[in-house]
């Protein structure tokens, strides 16, 4: 049982970082369809840096890659006002193609993987029964993901910058009238989201020591997107949804432990079905950012609604 929980929590970390990043972008009004692409880019950049020059450089490479791809997305979505759905899908395609090409060119057929990061036990808490080891005796990236979430809760509740970001996503025209630089805020939010999700991708290669392939994230970017929708664009519930989906990610282990005869594939549909049911039934769309997906231009006054 504890083993399954531990594996589930490890699987949660990349999803949570991607979802928290995506949340920043969506709360600023820019849809985060491209999370899957950020994860893949971060996974490869992290592996490349860490394999050649050590873990720290790997993390820096993931941040750099995130900034690059985030800048591209921000330019297309914010400056050029291209369709955010289209840009997101293009970025996923671009990320898969570019990393596959780079992987082939740099490593050819050589199989490269890293050792993964060691666990850090938090004294006291890690001795709690069952959940102690699962939550408090984990690699550092898990604590980082939770810390990012906690900081984001404070950011949205306690800072004017957080309020400005929220206002930008709700109604960019009102925000501009209030003196908020909508374009700047959206650029910053998209860049931050790409960096966080890219770090989430680096967890696969640096943190878990997986071998790179362009399908390494296996749809977890979309799981993260589902978590944002299920969590109603609020940090706490989104983190909870990520944990739920992370536990569902190790469905095969659950099936073994609980002795369920259902195939793991069917259990894997659970996060998506849950989100669809939530989207259709819960009247929580009130918390969806009002201007999500609406490009902003200063010259244009009325919001098309």
């Amino acid at each position: 049982m504890t083993g399954v929980l531990t594996a589930g929590v490890i699987a949660t970390a990349p999803i949570m970082l991607a979802a928290l990043g995506g949340l920043l972008s969506e709360r600023a009004g820019v849809m985060a369809i491209g999370l899957e692409g950020y994860l893949v880019v971060g996974a490869f950049a992290g592996l490349w840096g860490a394999h050649g020059y050590g873990t720290v450089v790997g993390v820096m490479a993931a941040v750099g890659a995130g900034l690059l791809i985030g800048a591209l997305v921000a330019w297309l979505c914010v400056s050029l006002r291209a369709s955010q759905v289209v840009v997101g899908l293009t970025v996923i395609l671009l990320a898969a193609g570019a990393t596959a090409y780079a992987n082939f060119t740099i490593y050819n057929a050589e199989i490269v993987s890293l050792a993964g990061l060691p666990d850090i036990a938090i004294p006291g808490l890690s001795e709690l029964p069952t959940i102690g080891p699962a939550l408090f005796d984990q690699p550092i990236f898990w604590y980082f993901a939770v810390l990012v979430g906690l900081v984001m809760i404070l950011y949205f509740r306690q800072t004017t910058s957080g309020l400005a970001l929220h206002a930008t996503g709700e109604n960019p025209f009102a925000a501009q009238a209030r003196g908020i630089r909508v374009t700047t805020v959206r650029y910053a939010a998209v860049l931050a989201s790409a960096v966080l999700a890219s770090l989430g991708g680096a967890i696969f290669t640096i943190g878990q020591g997986l071998q790179f392939s362009p399908t390494i994230s296996a749809g977890r970017g979309f799981i993260a997107l589902a978590a944002i929708y299920l969590g109603g664009w609020r940090v706490g519930p989104v983190m909870a949804a990520c944990l739920l989906f992370g536990l569902a990610d190790v469905a095969q282990l659950w099936a073994n432990v609980l002795g369920i005869g259902i195939s793991a594939s069917i259990l894997s549909t659970a996060p998506y079905v849950a989100t669809l049911v939530a989207l259709a039934t819960l009247r929580r769309r009130g918390s969806m950012p009002g201007a999500l997906g609406v490009p902003f231009s200063r010259e244009q006054r009325a919001v098309a609604q």
């Binding site: 898969a96 193609g97 060119t105 979309f222 594939s265 069917i266 079905v273 259709a280 039934t281």
Partner: protein, 357 residues
């Protein structure tokens, strides 16, 4: 709106630019770009065999692009084509395995594929109309539901007996698409895709349904004001889009793979969107862009075989072409909207001159 010819020029320009960048990347890989293009040409366009590879690769792209176009013109995003295509493949496989009705088999199998895709597409559009849930996210999530369900079905229920990998049995020979040119992979699938393109063009440009679709796509409120049945038109457009995506899966299964596996789709449901947008969301554009993507696929396969270059070059080329087209289209649109709205005609200019005098 920018002129259609300008748009077409932009798409072709973007494709050529992508082609040049990929050539440069080939050079980075240590191969002379001329050798690269030569190998690329040999694998994609030189002779019947390579043309067969190109056309086989192009059909799912073109069909998915047509499917996306139909819904997109009604301002609906069908991001769920990947799932619809998978169900289409499974349905065609099941009919092809269990039914032998002579020449009718293929028609029945394709019919099943279309129905399967359409039914799966009905879910997100009905969710949108009944509950307001965006079809963009719900159809996207349904792709994964379809993928995992089909993986389970193929490995647990329809698994071929005594097979160690997850696959259904191959379809019977009556269900295989007839080959048009002997000793090549050229089947009737490309002709079928062209026929679908013609139908999509006719519906969009010449039918009352198409008029409704385009009006809703241009301005939903106006469509409602003039008394169009917006909801029914949306359902029709989206379900038809799903049916075409399902047909894409059916054609691929009956013409190329012959058995259903969890790894059936190469992501055509997503790249088809890229092809549709590169083709300017028109029927003709979808076919041309689909063909371009097919050439890229077949050529890149040969690059990997002959010169040991990554076949991911194809994906990269597709992404770069789309990227170029997006950037160019946005910049052109901006230029267009920056120009003065009301252009003076000749008479107006004459009056203005009078006034100055």
């Amino acid at each position: 709106m920018v002129h259609v010819l300008t748009r077409a020029g932009v798409a072709v320009g973007a494709a050529l630019l992508a082609f040049l960048i990929v050539g440069a990347l080939v050079a980075v890989g240590g191969v002379s770009p001329l050798d690269g293009y030569d190998t690329f040409y040999a694998g994609s366009l030189a002779g019947g065999v390579s043309l067969g590879f190109t056309l086989t690769a192009a059909v799912p792209y073109a069909m998915a692009a047509l499917a996306f176009t139909l819904a997109f013109r009604c301002r609906l995003f069908n991001i769920g084509m990947e799932g619809q295509l998978l169900w289409g493949g499974l349905a065609a496989a099941l009919v092809g395995i269990h039914v032998d009705a002579g020449a009718l088999t293929i028609i029945l199998a394709l019919l099943a594929a279309g129905v399967a895709g359409g039914v799966w597409a009905a879910v997100p559009i009905l969710l949108k109309l009944w509950t307001g849930a965006s079809e963009i996210v719900s159809s996207l999530f349904l792709n994964y539901v379809a993928f995992y369900l089909i993986a389970a079905l193929v490995s647990d229920v329809f698994q071929q007996q005594r097979s160690t990998v997850a696959t259904t049995a191959p379809v019977g020979s009556a269900a295989e698409l007839p080959v048009l040119v002997a000793d090549t992979k050229i089947t009737i699938a490309p002709l079928f895709a062209i026929a679908v393109a013609a139908v999509v063009w006719l519906v969009l440009a010449r039918s009352s349904l198409g008029f409704k679709i385009r009006t809703i796509g241009a301005n939903e409120r106006v469509a409602r004001r003039v008394g169009m049945d917006v909801r029914r038109t949306m359902v029709t457009a989206f379900v038809a889009s799903g049916a075409i995506a399902g047909l894409a899966g059916g054609l691929e299964l009956l013409g190329n793979q012959f058995a259903m596996t969890p790894a059936f789709s190469q992501g055509w449901g997503y790249t088809g969107i890229a092809a549709a947008l590169l083709g300017g969301a028109t029927a003709l554009g979808s076919v041309v862009a689909g063909l371009f993507f097919g050439i890229l696929d077949a050529g890149a396969q040969n690059l990997q075989l002959e010169l040991d270059l990554p076949s991911a070059l194809s994906q990269l080329g597709q992404a770069l072409a789309l990227l170029g087209a997006i950037v160019a289209a946005q910049i052109l649109d901006r230029g267009a909207s920056a120009r003065p709205r009301v252009r003076r005609d000749a008479a107006g200019r004459a009056r203005a001159r009078e006034a100055v005098r």
